[in-house]
Symmetry: C3
Subunit: 261 residues, 3 copies
């Protein structure tokens, strides 16, 4: 029993539900009703509504900082109630639960070891399934039962072809890397798809119609309000403004990054 | 002792305090200072400032997803510091703590079994009571002491006439149901006061100056951007836009819903 | 072991990271990976970006409501990655961790008992240190190791001159107190730097070009929409509008308060 307490499982939540309503609280209630010994941790509930790509980025850059056996619930689910599948992804003792709509694409991309199971066994659903809130009715109960050591293949059969979405990759030609912005954070930091370890410290970087000379070591190396490039905390080149918001400076819909090595 | 750990009580928080300030954190500090073995769970802190009706809706639609013995603290409290009472509501082993201003009206409406006690015993208050933050000084300590098995009638005497607010109910005449919007969520889903189980699948629904033919089974049954009616997750008919925001489409202050059966 | 469980340490988080991204979730993952028996509590993540003064106000007005031995992590860190130091502040069994940029100024001001240590020992850092996210790489691990009883002086050497920022104090001359607004909360309550216990109940208060006669006992003592002065929950005189937003009424950049006693 004591052992059990110390092995307390973590369930993380990543959704686009926002924090204005009771939806996230209700998910926690459902989880704790099934297993009161779970530690529920919010990653974020403010993913842009129905936006699968940023959620894919967020969960890929979050899961590795949690202990093994953590269960990550991701509910960005524009197809809720339709025949899109619900899945459990197991990978090297990390667990992911959510809709089969591509939100785990970057997990699949990073390994060939994923096992994917459908969530089909109604024994592990809430009794009444709504057609609008599977976060409450299917995904939260699945996480809670998994935390109680229900075996993955008890939830349903294996799925060999989970849905994936194509994300553009950077290109490298001669002395030029071409990439794009894949994520913009709250500070307006523009995260590119270019790994920072392939960029030279003194490269010239072009973003939209602006040029940046070299990669800074830290934000305050340039004056407040000035644009800079920096090796971001996710391992990618980022474009920022020291104490300002680079995201507000550009039209992000068509923003190319060119690094001249 | 171990038993105690496994019986860890949940305290939920629903407020209009927002998340910009330290108010919610301080409430958690007060609770954990009195009983470190409580699991504090946020429902939401973004109820519109001083808005009792949406808070009443939120707590009514949340509490049943939490285990019995959960203590729900609701602080929407425009009358803080005045002579409005502070109360503890007990109902079938669910517990509610907050101001006596109608925020528990929908709990009272749903049962005749509520026992209501005033929070009067200063032994269970913080030492210095401010006139602006009873969430910290009275409601949080009450929740923490209740979680330590202080008996409800130790907090104060019974209250037989707690404050309630009148909420409009739908009307049913011949083949027409008339209702209104009682809650709008972050996605712009308009929750009506019409139970979805009294609406036919092929009813014509009029909302403001728009007409909707039939009730959808799931959002993506209609095209992105299209208006639809759906059985919502709280048991009421909801009006939504697939991957859009129905709340932005209407003036919600005077929005009638008519269902032609 | 059981004892240990009951002594579960609290780590609080105060940042300007916002709640849109995974940054806060990742900090919690790092902490729980090092010590799964920590109770992580959010104070706020919505301090204005790079704003040290409101963060100093928030942590000073929060820490005392948490049990002793709580560890408060404060990451408002515009100088991240530069040579600004990282510190641990110990004061009467309260612990504070963050950048040495003045964010703990109000803690230092309130006591002469603070011991300050630099966070230098890389044994207690994550393996790879980014130059943009010390909240994840240095401050969270420090909090987690401290919660596991690593001794303060194991993290690094003592620092005798931590960075402090000067905050204006009120002045008292004859029968006039002059102060200013030091914090504005979500409700638009304007918190001044004037202790409410030196203000008479019937003082005339001037704020900007408005005059208020006397200090109210509670918000709803004046009509909805009316300006009032009140003894706030932090011990300071506050200017508010009953059920309204006083912050929206004034240009806060240069707002003087005069109390005529």
């Amino acid at each position: 029993m004591l052992f059990y307490s110390i092995m307390k499982r973590i369930v993380t939540l990543t959704t686009d539900f926002g924090i204005e309503d009771h939806y996230v609280g209700v998910m926690k209630g459902v989880i704790l009703s099934i297993n009161s010994e779970v530690n529920v941790v919010d990653i974020t509930h403010n993913v842009d509504s129905h936006s699968i790509v940023p959620a894919a980025f967020i969960i890929k850059n979050s899961y590795k900082y949690f202990p093994k056996n953590t269960i990550h619930v991701v509910v960005i689910d524009p197809g809720v109630g339709s025949d899109r599948k619900a899945i459990l992804v197991c990978f090297n003792n990390h667990f992911f639960i959510g809709p089969d709509n591509g939100v785990f694409s970057l997990i699949f991309q990073s390994t060939s070891n994923c096992e994917v199971y459908q969530l089909e066994n109604e024994k592990y659903f809430l009794e009444n399934i709504s057609s609008t809130f599977h976060g409450r009715d299917i995904f939260s109960p699945a996480a809670a039962y998994l935390s109680k050591e229900v075996a993955p293949n008890d939830f349903g059969k294996k799925l060999t072809n989970p849905h994936t979405i194509e994300l553009n990759e950077y290109t490298l030609e001669d002395t030029e890397i071409r990439g794009e912005v894949i994520y913009t954070d709250k500070f307006g930091n523009l995260v590119t798809n270019i790994p920072s370890n392939i960029v030279n410290k003194d490269s010239e970087i072009t973003i939209g119609d602006k040029k940046i000379q070299g990669v800074s070591n830290y934000y305050s190396q340039v004056k407040a309000g000035k644009l800079l490039a920096i090796a971001g905390s996710s391992g990618y080149l980022e474009i920022s403004i020291n104490q300002g918001n680079a995201g507000d400076m550009f039209d992000k819909s068509k923003l190319n990054i060119i690094v001249r090595l």
